[in-house]
């Protein structure tokens, strides 16, 4: 027993004077969405100063609307990235969903709600397939979804051409059920003379829901864990496979939702659209603090990221610049965000 006492001599690890207490400000900046918030404020002020028309309420409502069309999908993409995976097919999946709904009800002369339901099933199936291939084969989701991205794009173009002999889906605004569906997916209301699109409300609701799931439920705990370290999560009994497939299906769900909005907003869908949008969603999530390596990020951050793009998108136009500058900003913001996030992460991890 003497040896017992000997080993017991080591004092318990206590906080000592070598560890500096982090200031409140530093702690605040360790939050994933802080970088994005700072960026959003800077960009808002920038356009506020250089583009006078950016300042009126109508512009803000347009900015919010554009942001919401990005943000609806940026939210599940952020969850997916926190879960350690990636989805490049989300942009064209929106178009696939809209085309499915529109062509299905048009060709079979059915109520649009039937088309909407079929599109939902198809979108969820695409999400499931993405997830299933990723977890089954262990191939990086970047490659798997790059594959499905091109496959969906090809299907969009080829099937639309085959079925309609056109490059766009036919106008479905005369089909039964269009009115009610348009009311749900693509309507607006007015507060104080300012037009508010319902997508903005949906967006906010989904962001709050995602945040609640991430931070307050065990599902959120599991999302962080499968992205942070899948083997560790598996070792303590987290259903890693189901979580990942579920996250891909959440992306499918929101691709459907965004697709339905696009369809009922414009009545017709160009079969080639949606390409490039996947990057906007991913960049919004990354700007919002999601790590490409998974296990870290926030839904609110992704929403701020989407808002930054909404502002840039409209701000460039309102400032009288060529809209081609948008992609330049996209890239610059991504680089800036990655640099900032890397810096923040190092600081967060250097607390040792």
């Amino acid at each position: 027993m003497t040896s017992t006492a000997q080993a017991g001599l080591t004092p318990p690890p206590t906080r000592d004077e070598r560890i500096r207490r982090k200031s409140t400000l530093a702690r605040l900046f360790a939050r994933p969405e802080m970088g994005a918030l700072t960026g959003a404020i800077v960009i808002y002020l920038f356009f506020f100063i250089i583009a006078p028309s950016f300042r009126n309420g109508g512009s803000l409502s347009t900015v919010l609307y554009v942001s919401s069309t990005y943000g609806l999908l940026a939210t599940p993409i952020a969850l997916l990235m926190i879960g350690g995976e990636f989805d490049l097919s989300a942009g064209v999946a929106v178009t696939s969903s809209a085309l499915t709904a529109s062509l299905f009800c048009y060709e079979f002369t059915l109520n649009v709600w039937v088309g909407v339901a079929v599109a939902l099933v198809v979108s969820l199936a695409v999400g499931f397939l993405n997830g299933w291939i990723v977890v089954r084969t262990g191939i990086p989701s970047f490659l798997v979804t790059l594959g499905t991205f091109f496959m969906l794009q090809g299907l969009n173009l080829a099937l639309t051409q085959t079925i309609t002999n056109q490059v766009a889906s036919p106008d479905i605004s005369n089909i039964a059920g269009f009115g009610s569906a348009a009311k749900i997916f693509a309507s607006s209301f007015t507060i104080d003379g300012v037009n508010i699109r319902t997508t903005v409300i949906y967006w906010i609701v989904f962001v709050l829901l995602a945040t609640w799931i991430l931070l307050r439920t065990h599902i959120g705990n599991w999302i962080f864990s499968v992205g942070g370290s899948a083997p560790s999560a598996r070792a303590v009994g987290v259903p890693v496979t189901r979580m990942k497939i579920g996250l891909f299906m959440a992306v499918g769900l929101m691709a459907w939702f965004t697709g339905m909005h696009t369809l009922f907003e414009f009545n017709t869908i160009q079969s080639g659209q949606g390409v490039g949008l996947e990057f906007v969603y991913i960049i919004a999530a990354v700007v919002g603090g999601c790590l490409l390596t998974g296990g870290y990020g926030s839904a609110v951050g992704a929403a701020i990221g989407a808002f930054i793009f909404g502002m840039t998108n409209q701000g460039i136009v309102l400032a009288g610049w060529d809209p081609d500058w948008f992609t330049f900003f996209l890239g610059a913001l991504l680089l800036g965000a990655i640099l900032l996030n890397t810096f923040i992460r190092r600081r967060a991890e250097a607390a040792k």
């Binding site: 017992t4 080591t10 318990p12 206590t14 599991w222 864990s225 370290s229 999560a233 987290v238 296990g295």
Partner: protein, 290 residues
Amino acid sequence: MTHAVDTNKPVPLVRLTAAGKQYGSIVALSDITLEVSAGEVTCVLGDNGAGKSTLIKIISGLHQPSVGTYEVEGAAVNFASPREALELGIATVYQDLAVVPLMPVWRNFFLGNEVRKGLRMNIALMKKTCKDELLDMGIDLRDVDQPIGTLSGGERQCVAIARAVYFGAKVLILDEPTAALGVKQSGVVLKYIIQARERGLGVIFITHNPHHAYPVGDRFLLLNRGRSIGYFAKEQITRDELTGLMAGGGELEELSHELEAMGGAAADAAQVLGEEAQELGISHRGAPGE
């Protein structure tokens, strides 16, 4: 139960009898007998490739022994998965600890076993429980909200141990918990091993360091190339004998000869090695046998 330990024949929590494991034609482990009772630490010592990890896999339920028997509290078992072993209270703390570095300590502590309140988690309760449990093991964290990756290796090891204890482990299998740690941190972990023992847990402590094993162990199983080269109770063996057996006796001497032949600085090292072997009483093939 605690009195039973003294009578020398309690029903051990875990007992392997003449167990072995073959992978196809490869014999990974043969004729291993080992037991651990409540309030006891059984150390498994062996160099790389000695069969330690195969042994862990058998005890933790990842593999079944090809031959021999495995009993838990006197009843023969045949685990199909680690989950079944866990249900009987046999918990394994692996080298990589199964923690997610970027997640807060409390989230890691309850990962996979979250306390729910309806749809939500009961976060306040979990944070408090985590803090209290760690405090019980002598780890005073300022903030259970800090990412577990910011803790030192020893502290992380202790969180993993505390977690296993809290979720009902009766037997703890610790896979090389001190392997990657410095001297001081190792001491901290050894202290928790003793604390776990004092709480009445059975501990199977896998290590290749006799200096870590000897102070805390009650029994010692030495492995070499998949075979037992000795199974001792503490009173049957001294620390030096244990070290000597671990160092491989003759092998150490052989190494000394080899170095001597190389001349120069190597010869100096050889002399030191030779002296060490002499001191441990293992020189000239005088290794204390089984």
